[in-house]
């Protein structure tokens, strides 16, 4: 056995999947000390997931392929130790909470690893009690997995792995399927495991806003190599392009100010830190100059709008299970309008949009689509007007070629061959998929499949486009592209609605926001209005954008509170710092 300084020691590691032509890990060198909390990030396909799999031996034992170089974890050689043995030192937690829960009750699932290792029953009981407490799910002990929320399932997955008492936890995008409340709880658990139990944690995540304040080291990967490695401040204050990775908004603002010499020092990573840093920039007298200054960018959510295209009047809906999902909801959507429907899981968002194209029918109340009562029309007929794209592309893709997948809708609607070809070409062009048209969609990356699913709805040019969670699992660059596509659609006089938890995306796009809680609409207004109303946001368990939070803390300085994104904030601050009035 090899004695090493770090709990993870990787030297010149290169790995190629079977049948792949290019290595996915290319000469990785890495040492992680015990007790570090490491954020591993980088654009889609950069090798993050493969590196995680390597840490507990899934690579190379489960996947075969060729591995060169050395990797030692807790003093054990990864290539020589079977995964079942490494599992006691490294706990691996995956993205999809459902696909790592085996048993029919919470306590039995926690026991699974211990049973496999042949632990005596008393020791199992002790450890189950301990991890239930540590992860805060004691009250769920006898529950079945399908009764848990996403966040509870992911905390169960952590508990189950933790029961084997590993020294290292590796988590591959554990929060991307969760709502912000669930994600927050998971991060809190990780924080306390790291601080109180000295556990080493490797966390893969795209959303730096969410995690940067928790970690003490950031590793940025690109093309199978480590591109940047250091403290969050070191990595994020580097002004060079971080390649598809989103810098936290508060740090972005600081960087822009720093570029003009208006601010100095390491960028703040949290709203509170930004507020403090900005406060120090404004001596008492100067702050008043900023007073009443409005953001220079005009709100884009409420431009000129056309006729109403969807009208919901007093709709009630209760599921057969007895869950009341919609409770007297009324809503109007106009042509050319951009809309974001927000609120915690179970607030009724998806139930609401399923009423737009008739997948669900109101038990009380009416739905009108382009002026006619939807009750008299089939789902197929309504879908011509209202295109609904679901969250997970894998729940709809079934064709062997991208172009056939995209043509499925228009074929069902009876498009003539000439129009069909034209529409498919147009949709593929819109989503940058022309080169992929003859490929099998299953060989494409997750982001590309998502675009195929989007194209397959846009193709028949519906007047209303509804996207359920379009930003999930998308890296920063992909989100940027999505935003410009949404703007294009609006300029074609379509109504665009998204159902989302992604508050930073919304703060940048600035649509009208419909906020839901417990089956009701509790707020409906411009992004500036809704995202700066702490009380309603709290009721809906939505956390506002980082920038908006910073400016709430600065309200005593006399800043307007309507800054919700970097652009607004810059427009509000930079002129006063330059001494302009």
């Amino acid at each position: 056995m090899k004695e090493s300084l770090g709990i993870i020691e990787i030297k010149e590691l290169t790995y190629t999947y079977p049948a792949a032509t290019r290595p996915v890990l290319d000469g990785i060198n890495l040492t992680v000390e015990r007790g570090q909390f490491v954020l591993l990030t980088g654009p889609s396909g950069c090798g993050k997931t493969t590196l995680c799999r390597c840490l507990n031996g899934l690579v190379p034992h489960f996947y075969n392929g060729t591995l060169k170089g050395e990797a030692h974890v807790a003093g054990l050689s990864v290539s020589k130790t079977p995964t079942s043995h490494l599992a006691q030192h490294v706990g691996l937690i995956f993205q999809n909470p459902d696909n790592q829960i085996f048993a029919l009750t919470v306590e039995k699932d926690i026991a699974f690893g211990l049973e496999n290792l042949g632990f005596p029953r008393d020791e199992m009981r002790n450890r189950i009690d301990w991890v239930l407490r540590t992860t805060g799910i004691e009250h769920l002990r006898q529950r079945a997995p399908h009764e848990l929320s996403g966040g509870q399932k992911q905390r169960l997955a952590i508990a189950s792995v933790l029961a084997m008492r590993p020294g290292i936890l590796v988590l591959d995008e554990p929060t991307s399927f969760l709502d912000p409340v669930g994600a927050d709880r998971v991060l809190t658990v990780l924080d306390s495991l790291n601080k109180e139990m000295d556990l080493t944690i490797i966390l893969v995540e795209h959303r730096l806003d969410l995690v940067a304040p928790h970690v003490d080291r950031v590793i940025l990967m690109r093309d199978g190599k480590i591109a940047r490695d250091g403290t969050p401040w070191q990595v994020l204050s580097d002004e060079a392009d971080l390649g598809g990775v989103g810098v936290p908004r508060v740090a972005q603002l600081w960087q822009r100010l720093a570029k003009e010499g208006l601010a100095k020092g390491p960028p703040p990573l949290t709203a509170t830190a930004l507020a403090q840093a900005l406060r120090s920039l404004f001596p008492q007298g100067q702050a008043s100059k900023a007073r009443h200054r409005q953001p220079s960018v005009a709100p884009t959510g409420l431009g000129e709008l056309g006729a109403p295209i969807i009208e919901i009047k007093g709709v009630h809906y209760t599921y057969p299970t007895g869950v009341k999902a919609l409770d007297d909801v009324s809503l109007q959507i106009r042509r050319g309008e951009a809309l974001a429907i927000m609120g915690e899981n179970g607030a009724g968002k998806t139930t609401l949009v399923k009423h737009f194209n008739g997948l669900l029918r109101p038990q009380k109340g009416q739905v009108y689509v382009s002026g006619t009562n939807a009750a008299d029309r089939s789902v197929a007929s309504l879908s011509r007007t209202v295109g609904l794209a679901f969250q997970n592309p894998d729940d709809q893709i079934f064709s062997e070629k991208v172009e056939d997948e995209v043509a499925f809708g228009p074929r069902n609607f009876g498009f003539k061959e000439e129009l069909l070809t034209k529409s498919v070409e147009w949709a593929l062009g819109c989503l940058d998929l022309v080169e992929r048209s003859h490929q099998n969609p299953f060989t494409l990356s997750g982001g590309e499949r998502k675009r195929v699913a989007l194209a397959s709805v846009l193709v028949w040019s519906p007047q209303v486009v509804i996207l359920d969670e379009p930003t999930i699992g998308q890296d920063y660059a992909q989100k940027k592209r999505l935003m410009s596509l949404l703007s294009d659609l609006r300029s074609q006089d379509k109504a665009v609605a998204i159902v989302t938890h992604d508050v930073e995306f919304v703060a940048e796009w600035k649509p009208r926001i419909v906020l839901m809680s417990k089956g009701r609409i509790i707020a409906d207004g411009s992004a500036e209005q809704v995202l700066t109303s702490p009380t309603v946001l709290e009721t809906a368990s939505v956390r506002t954008s980082e920038i908006a939070r910073a400016f709430q803390e600065l309200s005593d300085l006399g800043f307007g509170k309507t800054a919700i994104n970097v652009e607004d904030a810059y427009g509000m601050i930079a002129p006063s710092l330059r001494g302009e009035t």
């Binding site: 507990n56 489960f62 995964t83 079942s84 599992a87 085996f102 496999n116 399908h146 894998d394």
Partner: protein
Amino acid sequence: MMSMLEGLKYTAISSPLHGLDPRPKSFMVLTLFLATVLYSELIPLVLVMLIQIPLLAVAKVVGQWLRTLRGAAVFSVFIFATNLLANYIYQEQKLTASIIVSSLAMTTRFLALITAFSVFFLTTSPDKLSLTLQKAGLPYELCFAFITAIRFVPVLAEEAQTIMDAQKSRGLELEKGTFVRRIRNYLPILLPLIINSIRRSLELAEAMESRAFGAVKVRTDLYELRLTKQDYLVFALTLVSLSVILYLRFFM
């Protein structure tokens, strides 16, 4: 038809019947089975049915049992009608009280069997069942597969619904066209479901490896089967009932 399966859906509540070891409980249910098969007259079959109702009441599963019966209603009518028809054609060629009674008896037999099934499956957790099967010599891997299948039923049902919604939103109309066309209409639903299941099984395999599956030869289990006083009592009572049933059937 699907609601007939309702009777097999276990919910974790506590009752004397839930607390029983699956071994004496299965002996009890098998005895009930035997009684329904040995007797073909209406009165004893009705008795076998009625005996079970207090058991269901003690186990607090009467509601679920009634839902099962409602699901089985169509099938019961079918059994009654075919029996009546068969008796009519092959025996008397006219409608008599005796063929109506014997058709009723056959229907009662079916309902009594379903009830016995309900008594067992509504009160026995799959985890205990799996342990019992392992005790009976079934390999652990097989029992694990059985548990995992049960675990993923709700997940698959939800996924199937989402896929159906997604394809309907792209203009798919399931009830349109000829018979062959209608079957083809289900392809866009079945294919993603199958592909997702394959992807899921790979992810599950990875997660199993990461949880030390197969690390030691003799694995332990969080739960254990232990016979209590109640279990022996049930065993003894069942044995007495079995003797009575056999005696009445063969020696009276």
